[in-house]
């Protein structure tokens, strides 16, 4: 009886961990237009989300946005200031409030390769397994449509 209760609690807590899903009250990814041609991509975790997941989800979602818009390359920036001076990042920085990690990047889409830019298919291939392991992603590894 006690074991069943513990298992139920464990399952319930596991269910709280936000996977790679669109933003909801439990967390998830979101994106919005602007400023300019930039697209802001963010991920809100909950108390059960690890920071490393947020970093991966941010880059994965950024690559998805690029692919959805038919752009094979993108640059990711930590801030608007970094975008203005074109100082792209290779890893997203994650912050936390009350133990809940969150992160945001600004992305610029490109038709061809640019210095410091990332190739969307490379990022999707690199992180597909991790995203699938961490949370919700279609079995074909193509990610959610957001």
């Amino acid at each position: 009886m006690r074991l069943a209760a513990i298992l139920c609690c464990a399952l319930a807590l596991a269910g709280c961990a936000t996977g790679y899903v669109k933003d909801s009250i439990f967390g998830g990814h979101w994106d919005e237009e602007g400023p300019g041609e930039l697209i802001t991509v963010g991920y809100n975790g909950n108390g059960y989300t690890k920071g490393e997941k947020v970093e991966i989800y941010l880059l994965y979602r950024s690559a998805e946005v690029a692919r959805e818009r038919g752009k094979p390359y993108f640059s990711a920036y930590q801030s608007i200031r970094a975008a203005i001076v074109d100082a792209p990042l290779s890893e997203a920085t994650v912050h936390a409030l009350g133990g809940k990690p969150f992160g945001k990047v600004y992305i610029m889409l490109h038709d061809g390769p640019v210095p410091g830019g990332l190739e969307a298919t490379d990022v999707l291939a690199k992180y597909a397994e991790a995203v699938k392991r961490f949370g919700t992603v279609p079995a074909d590894g193509q990610g959610s449509a957001g």
């Binding site: 400023p35 300019g36 041609e37 930039l38 801030s79 608007i80 200031r81 975008a83 203005i84 001076v85 912050h95 936390a96 409030l97 009350g98 809940k100 969150f102 610029m108």
Partner: protein, 142 residues
């Protein structure tokens, strides 16, 4: 200890009363001598211009006209409630607006602070913005 608590409470009351007493901001009429501030990414609640502090109550279309005769400072108050924990911060920034220019205010949050940023609209670049020399806002417009 009791007196310290009372002092803090009275100070908070005084500060809140002072905020409530700020006169409402009256934007200058549109013309060649004013600048426009885009507040779509920053919820400004007060502005310091000409050495006076005003409250901002309603901004039509997120576009605020400001005079360019002196530095302008904009302030906000950010409050995040997370069930049993609450966070608040008061970001602000000051800069010298240039007549005819449009500026974008932006709010950034990280683990320990929040930051107000200001950028100048620059339609020539893909980002559409350019850097602006800015400083922290003067406390209470002094």
């Amino acid at each position: 200890m009791k007196s310290i608590r009372m002092t803090i409470a009275l100070s908070a009351c005084a500060a809140l009363t002072a905020c409530a007493g700020f006169p409402p901001y009256q934007p200058p009429p549109a013309g060649p001598d004013v600048a426009t501030i885009d507040l779509s990414r920053f919820n400004a609640d007060s502005i310091c211009t000409g050495g006076e502090l005003y409250s901002i109550r309603k901004v039509e279309g997120d576009k605020l006209l400001v005079p360019t005769t002196s530095r302008v400072a904009l302030y906000s108050w950010v409050y995040i409630s997370d069930y049993y924990m609450n966070y608040s911060c008061m970001p602000g920034v000051s800069f010298q607006p240039v007549a005819g220019e449009t500026y974008l205010m932006n709010l950034e949050l990280d683990s320990k602070a929040c930051h107000a940023e200001v950028y100048r609209h620059s339609p020539d670049s893909r980002v559409g913005l350019d850097l602006v020399y800015s400083e922290g806002p003067p406390a209470l417009c002094q």
